[in-house]
Symmetry: C2
């Protein structure tokens, strides 16, 4: 390493590249973007996929409500503008993780197609994998793991996706999972099979 006189200029050339980071990890970075109604199982499937990948030695991370809505995005609510900004920030953080060589899974309702497409546009071809966890509203409402649908039906929560706020299903996503008629293990394995087929786990 040689001393630089003009700081902040030449050293950018010496910065570690995305390719070098990917080489150290043994795989390229990517984002697995799970989307779907509340209660569709996206967080559950995302964590199951993360577990399967981690156990294979893949460097992964999960961005979900717990670590994002209470941290980075704690100054955002659920208005349409705030939902858009919420997804924008998560997309940008996903891009940083992917750039670091990490396979990051995100599990957010992300109801607006335009917002998801804006995130997709941040990534190189093939690096953004949109996974629609498709469960009918009836299924989600019958599960209602957090009691949110009940509150939304009672008018205690306003702007709840699927009740009085829209959910725009992906039209050309990479993968659609049928969460009405499959268990978590089956759905997680479908995601792994997709990643294998696309060469993400070839290293």
């Amino acid at each position: 390493m040689t001393e630089q006189k003009a700081t902040n200029v030449t050293w950018h050339e010496h910065a570690v590249t995305s390719e070098e980071r990917a080489k150290l990890k043994g795989h390229k970075g990517a984002v697995l973007w799970f989307t779907g109604l509340s209660g569709c199982g996206k967080s559950t499937v995302a964590n199951a996929v993360d577990r399967l990948l981690h156990d294979r030695g893949v460097h992964t991370y999960v961005l979900d409500g717990d670590n994002v809505r209470m941290g980075l995005n704690k100054n955002l609510g659920f208005s349409p503008e705030d939902r858009t900004e919420n997804i924008r920030r998560i997309g940008e953080v996903g891009k940083l993780f992917a750039d670091s060589g990490t396979i990051v899974t995100t599990a957010f309702i992300s109801p607006y197609r335009e917002d998801r497409d804006a995130v997709r546009a941040l990534f190189e071809d093939g690096q953004f994998i949109e996974i629609y966890v498709n469960a009918s509203l009836e299924t989600c409402e019958s599960r209602d793991p957090k009691g949110l649908y009940k509150k939304a039906r009672a008018g205690e929560i306003k702007g709840f996706t699927g009740i009085d706020a829209p959910y725009e299903a992906p039209e050309s996503g990479e993968l659609e999972l049928d969460s009405d008629s499959n268990g978590i293990e089956e759905l997680a394995n479908q995601v792994i099979a997709h990643l294998e087929a696309k060469g993400f786990l070839s290293a």
Copy 2:
């Protein structure tokens, strides 16, 4: 893996833990928070440290102006409120990376002590390493790699740190680097020595 009937509940138990992520990487996550005046060399030193760590097989990442101000924080300016939000978001993203087992370096002026302390409070003891790259204003202004001091002196940039906006130096940071009288290589090695002494590179 057993099928879950109540989704979104029990699977959180199966989520990969921070400890498991650190084990896969061979080291714990941390943030190396470089702070100092524009032109003090913090981005240069941060990238040199990142290079040295990467070449030792450490899983690292750099958050700096290039990938943050143009992405995640592109909707923020340089008002005091925006600077605070800028640092808050970077701190939260640093926390996510550290949680993933990554040693992340950040290189931002981060002029306000209160803002840096708020970031510190996000981390476990010892996980936040504040590194003051101390160069005198005279040194920074004579380097002026981006011509910003000249513009600030000419009144073309308002609220420029060190000229007409304050810089509050760390009072109890983990490490202070003398950038007036040392080259990049020496400063980067001082950081590595600190990390070794604190056991971050023991794996």
